[in-house]
Amino acid sequence: MSALTRRELLAKSLLSGAGLFVAFHVPRKAGAVPEPAAKQLPDPNAFVRVAPDDSVTVLLAHSEMGQGIWTGLAMLIAEELECDWSKIRVEHAPAAPVYAHPAFGMQMTGGSTTTWSEFDRYRTAGAMARDMLVRAAAAQWKTDPKRLHTEKGYVVRGKQRLSYGQLAVAAQALTPPKKVQLKDRKDWKILGKPMRRLDSPEKITGKAQFGIDVRLPDLRTALVARSPVFGGKVKSFDAGKARQVKGVEQVVQVPTGVAVVATNFWSAKLGRDALQIDWDLGPGASLDTTRLLEDYRAQARTKGPVAAERGDADAALAAAARRVVAEYDVPYLAHATMEPMNCTVRLAAGRCEIWTGTQFQTMDQASAARITGLAPESVFIHTQFLGGGFGRRATPSSDFVSEAVHVAKAAGVPVKVVWTREDDMRGGYYRPLFLHRIEAGLDAKGRLSAWRHGIVGQSILTGTPFEPFMVKNGIDATSIEGVTESPYLEGVPARRVTLHSPRNPVPVLWWRSVGNTHTAFAMESMLDELAWAAEQDPLEFRAALLAEKPRHLRALKTAAQMAGFGKPAPAGRARGMAVHESFGSIVAQVAEVSVDEDKEIRVHRVSCAVDCGTAINPLGIEAQMQGAIAYGLSAALHGAVTLKDGRVEQSNFHDYRVLRMPEMPQVEVQVLESEAKMGGIGEPGAAPISAAVANAVYALTRQRLRSLPLRLA
């Protein structure tokens, strides 16, 4: 069977939904598969379908992993289409070039970019569909389209109304408009309003289908025994006992280990437990995170590639009236999505079909094509709801997808590879361990005069397809984001930031807010140390440095005011603050903490102000701030993946603790709109919280905690 064209592929995807769907169809020259171009209007077919039953289906070019785009992108369409909100359905789009990210050129979800990058494309698709429906009505009524208006899924002329469903077939035959006028912001009816999620009904009834829930005829479940040490390989194995387990059908070797294929998960697990494997562990077996951190400390004192420099930082430090030196470190972290990694693959008749929750469709499609020898168009990805992503489901190596394709290929049956929690926790792709060494100088008036900053940590991007454009002169942009462009450093006359990117076999990856997970901790902790050293109020010290940054200043002052910063905290509590810009948005947080008799840090309240430019769904923004704070607090208070003799020491939620309900602070969120370019929302809330908490702990105890997770002596 030959590779399908994009048009056929889209048509297939339509058929796979409700059988009677009639979609708009834009005639296209045979064989033309245009790449999306910024100036070209989108193909409305690809993003919205109006059916004779009045339903409006929005196709998501990105993946819903909790961040709320299932609702947010539908809002963009609905605003311009003027359809009935209750008739909207949403589907994940298939993997196809038309769904490439407008900014990145590949189909993916990440970097807190979905809403701002799709703001024009989805609104335009909605406006084009509306235009075609209005013209269809005008033709039927033999009138000028300009005399018609639309409301809630109807085209209206006086007392006459035609529903979008009644017009869908006629509209389908029309040529799409060459240009459309998008609504002025003051005319918005949906955008900017708090809208509840469209995926709630299926998610509260257990009907929502995640990758792990996929069922197919003759589908088998496989578990893979992987090397206990990163980079290890199978030397030999004995599957005799595994094959005797009831339900086990096959044991096959794949590049990552040995897969046990069974009729169900439990049999596959018992079979895997019974495997005997001799591993060639390789150099990874000597990895030890305690020693790694010591190495990093030593490296931070040596000169590394320069990421940013201005003036003579060495001379300025020597001349400073006062010097403050501090080292901050953060451990490896697992994403620990609630849904463990999994991927279902069916290879048949020249097609590779994949069902999974992924953030990286284009990469996964290319990886599967390479492994199967098929063309990418013959790889069909059915994106399912993601039971959490946080970056883990965006691997440039397509790790969990590639492995499942290998298993399906070796086993010759449709197979769902499921990772146990232990597999997931020990499977790598961690937020890298990082160390920051900062030496800062204050002049005689307590002003910041010098900044020398050494960063040490593995590069996420080196060795991936992103390296050519995101690693420049040995500097991985994700290792330094939040430091080199820090607004605090702009006015510092002499500064130098250097970066060491040591290599080791531990796979590392972006983790909700990426480099900002550690740079915000280091920068905002150091700023706090300097404020105390200069004997200045932490808010005023920051405000002086942010005098030219009105958005930062407004966010910080708003959060401070919400928290009552400067007023006495309740007995036994203290407050700390942090403000950080990431993904185009600015988030300020004030944490109110206490310490209990077991020296456990309790975070009671977090006041959070966020400036993301234009706010599309305030209800969703509030949820993302609350959620990102909880995610960041897991790292601030508990999270650490450690290695000894190359083995990951943690395995499940009992020894890799995450935030639980009793630890959730009361989070108050204020959304500050501004005229600035729209920023991201999924990640920026996670960045400042660990520093805000550490700064509050210092205010309370006068103990400066410079390692995450925060532990009082």
Binding site: W266, H654, M664
Partner: protein
């Protein structure tokens, strides 16, 4: 062996040590109950056994006997249980993966404590992890569901 799931008698032919979770998911075709940890640490697999919240990932199917099992699919026919309604009204879900377990846990809590305090909610829900961090809205939704249930009486 025979199981009573969501009010229906089901015959299953499985290993005795297979956890109830995998019988529900892989054998009976009820995937609403989720796998999260396999060791009763996260609560994603929470179901009701005679109305009590239990972790199905560590419950051998042979230990269930003829006790009534209720899963998220059987909590209400249409999402109309007061806890589900409150979840929708308060816009709790994010990725949604843990929410069947959260909802089953909350429903069991309210069956015993019609008017729980924040502290009682925190305690009852402490075994249910949500990585998206929906805890604050869960707390609010449990209060809302409790008020709704009281109003219905």
């Amino acid at each position: 062996m025979q199981l009573n799931v969501n009010g229906t008698a089901r015959e299953v032919d499985v290993q005795e040590d297979m956890p109830l979770l995998w019988v529900l998911r892989d054998v009976l075709g009820l995937p609403g109950t989720k796998f999260g940890c396999g060791m009763a640490q996260c609560g994603a697999c929470t179901v009701h056994l005679e109305g009590e919240a239990v972790r199905s990932c560590v419950l051998p199917v042979s230990a269930v006997g003829n006790r009534m099992v209720t899963t998220i699919e059987g909590l209400s026919p249409d999402g109309s249980h007061p806890v589900q309604q409150a979840w929708a009204e308060r816009d709790v879900v994010q990725c949604g993966y843990c929410q069947p377990g959260q909802i089953m846990q909350a429903a069991a809590l309210l069956a015993h404590h019609p008017n729980p305090t924040d502290g009682e909610i925190d305690l009852a829900m402490a075994g249910n992890i949500c990585r998206c961090g929906t805890y604050q809205r869960i707390r609010e939704a449990v209060h809302r569901a409790a008020a709704q249930k009281r109003a219905e009486k």
